[in-house]
């Protein structure tokens, strides 16, 4: 074994992508023996807005949950900045789907956003003023400071989504996973969310967003991951968000496919 081989095998044991915010190798996830994700390989670039698109049931949410250890993996290796998720937890932020929680829960907007700080606060400790202030600042950034003392049941869908976003901002992470942050929000909230995402990118964060509206993909995202059980394509939006890849991703689902083709044509026409 010569020196180069030793070095090579050493890196293989460690990490091939020590700088990548997220590197996934051979990830497979199955529910009741039926595979949902199959052999997913993905290395994400740093400081980009990345969209995940694919038809319903393509495994978009499952991908996020498997990566964050919320769903058991059948096989595969996941690394954040070259290390395991456990070691890098503090650098990862998560925005679950809005419907995943009970919005009648007796908790105020301020309390929900403060939850984003719980890791910094630590087990069993009381919430200090500084953390409450950090949560309030996050609320100001999403334009919801006036709602701090409201119970969450009094919010509209768009406001709920902003609160979730504020909670993620309060986490002060470097890589964010957002599961359909644009679902069911009004136009002004969508615009506000996009601005916040761009702000995160400007500060060097990487943001991974599960997205449904193919029309806005080229406009919002630098990179795109096209998923349907396997990764059909991923890379800069310019290169991979093509008619051909959309056909491969969406297959025979005609209505969606038409929409996709229209999106691509419009995008091309603009250029």
């Amino acid at each position: 074994m010569n020196g180069a081989e030793v070095a090579n095998s050493a890196t293989r044991k460690g990490s091939e992508h020590p700088d990548a915010p997220l590197a996934i190798h051979d990830l497979t996830v199955a529910y009741h023996r039926r595979p949902v994700l199959w052999d997913v390989d993905l290395v994400l670039p740093k400081g980009k807005l990345i969209g995940i698109v694919g038809p319903n049931g393509a495994g978009k949410s499952t991908l996020i949950k498997a990566v964050l250890d919320l769903t058991p993996r059948a096989s595969g290796r996941v690394q954040f900045y070259g290390k395991s998720y456990r070691e890098q937890r503090h650098r990862v932020g998560y925005v679950p789907q809005r419907e995943s929680v009970d919005w009648d829960f007796p908790v105020t907007v301020q309390d929900v956003v403060t939850m984003g700080r719980y890791r910094q606060i630590g087990w069993f400790r009381r919430v200090s003023k500084a953390h409450r202030q950090a949560a309030y600042t996050a609320l100001e950034r999403v334009g919801m400071a006036d709602f701090a003392d409201r119970q969450i049941s009094q919010l509209s869908g768009g406001q709920q989504q902003r609160v979730f976003l504020a909670r993620a901002l309060a986490q002060e992470a470097e890589i964010y996973f957002m599961d359909e942050p644009f679902a069911g929000v009004d136009a002004s909230t969508e615009k506000a969310i996009v601005t916040i995402l761009q702000g995160l990118r400007a500060s060097g964060s990487t943001v991974l967003v599960v997205h449904h509206d193919l029309q806005t993909v080229p406009q919002y995202f630098d990179h795109v991951v096209m998923l349907n059980m396997r990764v059909v394509a991923h890379g800069p939006t310019e290169e991979v968000f093509t008619e051909e890849n959309l056909v491969k991703t969406y297959g025979g689902r005609l209505t969606l496919f038409d929409e996709a083709v229209r999106a691509v044509t419009q995008h091309r026409a603009k250029k």
């Binding site: 929680v101 009970d102 007796p106 929900v112 939850m115 719980y118 119970q151």
Partner: protein, 446 residues
Amino acid sequence: MIAEFANSWTAHDTWIITTGALAAVACSLLGCFLVLRKQSMMGDAISHAVLPGLAIAFIVTESRGSVVMFIGAAVVGVLTAVFTETVHRIGKVEQNASMGVVFTTLFALGLLLIENAAHHVDLDPGCVLYGALELVKLNSVSVLGMDIPQAALNCGAVTLLNALFVFVCFKELRIATFDPDLATTLGINAMALHYGLMTLVAVTVVACFEAVGSIMVIAMLVVPAATAQLWTKQLGTMLAVAVSLGCGCAVLGHLGAILLPRLVNQPATNTQGMMAVMSGVFLAVAVLLAPQQGIVSRIVRRITLSQRIAAEDILGMLYRLESPVTQGTIVTLPDMSSILRASGGVGSTGFRLALRKLTRDGKIVRAGAGCGLTDAGRAAAADIIRSHRLWEVYLSHHLGVPLHELHFAAEQLEHVTTPAMQQELANSATDSEARDPHGREIPKGR
């Protein structure tokens, strides 16, 4: 009767209330989290499922020592939670159905064990249902020179344990209940907390039901928490309200059990049953009076709304009946009432109430048998008519509503038009539309 009651009060009654209140507090603290997790029937499930635990503990040790029984029951209680989760995941069965399958199976197993293997164990079904709170003094131990009933000590111990758990893990319980996925990504093990909570529920159920019976335990796990949720918007207050309600049930339950039957010349009834009934009464009151969703507050809101509409209709009518020349026209009340009634307005009581309010607010003046608009009233009326006529313009020009249907639609819409909406409507109308589709002038905005 009061004097007789006060004389008959003994230390025994005080202990009954104390023990009941301790059990209620222990249960309602955990109940809040069960209700919020939508697992309120877990208490019911666990309190039935512990039966085989009691039986096996007896078969293995041949003793009815409370410590052994307690451990057996607590272990099976926790297993109930584990089995429920397992059946739910592996069998793809819905959570509640899975709970139902597990606890009925365990309960049946317990019955078989008692029937066949442990038939000489004297488990009294009545005692399990109602507990033996009246007999609380019979089994006492001496602590620091005080005679304290064993049941009060047991309930006190779990109350302390639960209070400590909720106090120390408050923030962790809140996030794990509200958003378990986020909790897990933040390194707070939601699953561990879930089983911690279930263990405490099992321990609490076993410790309390010997004293107060399973009906009261199940009631206290669900009802105070469900009632408190109607009234509060923060978890901390919800816990405090639930605990207070639990204590209230214990006190009122015992008093009620002694006093209520006397009203009909009956002997005192079962205290724990009355405590559980009290919790139901509290819930009923909460459903009636809750600030947001309560029935009473909904009725009040509806009456307030119909009063406002009646007042606005009166103002609008007076405005239409006077012209610039005849400002200050006095219209007689019977005329007003019949005009309003003809246009589908309020009945006579609503009409009188609305008139009184308008007079009090200085919008109209009463003169003899009639009344007319004041300046303030005229301005308010002009605003309503402006909304009405702008709506007619909008409906006619943008939606093509036929002329004869305009009035009725605009009559509804004028009452819900905000200043911003009115501005929006005015912006959508062109300059040539200074009059409504019927040709009447639209009053100028304020």
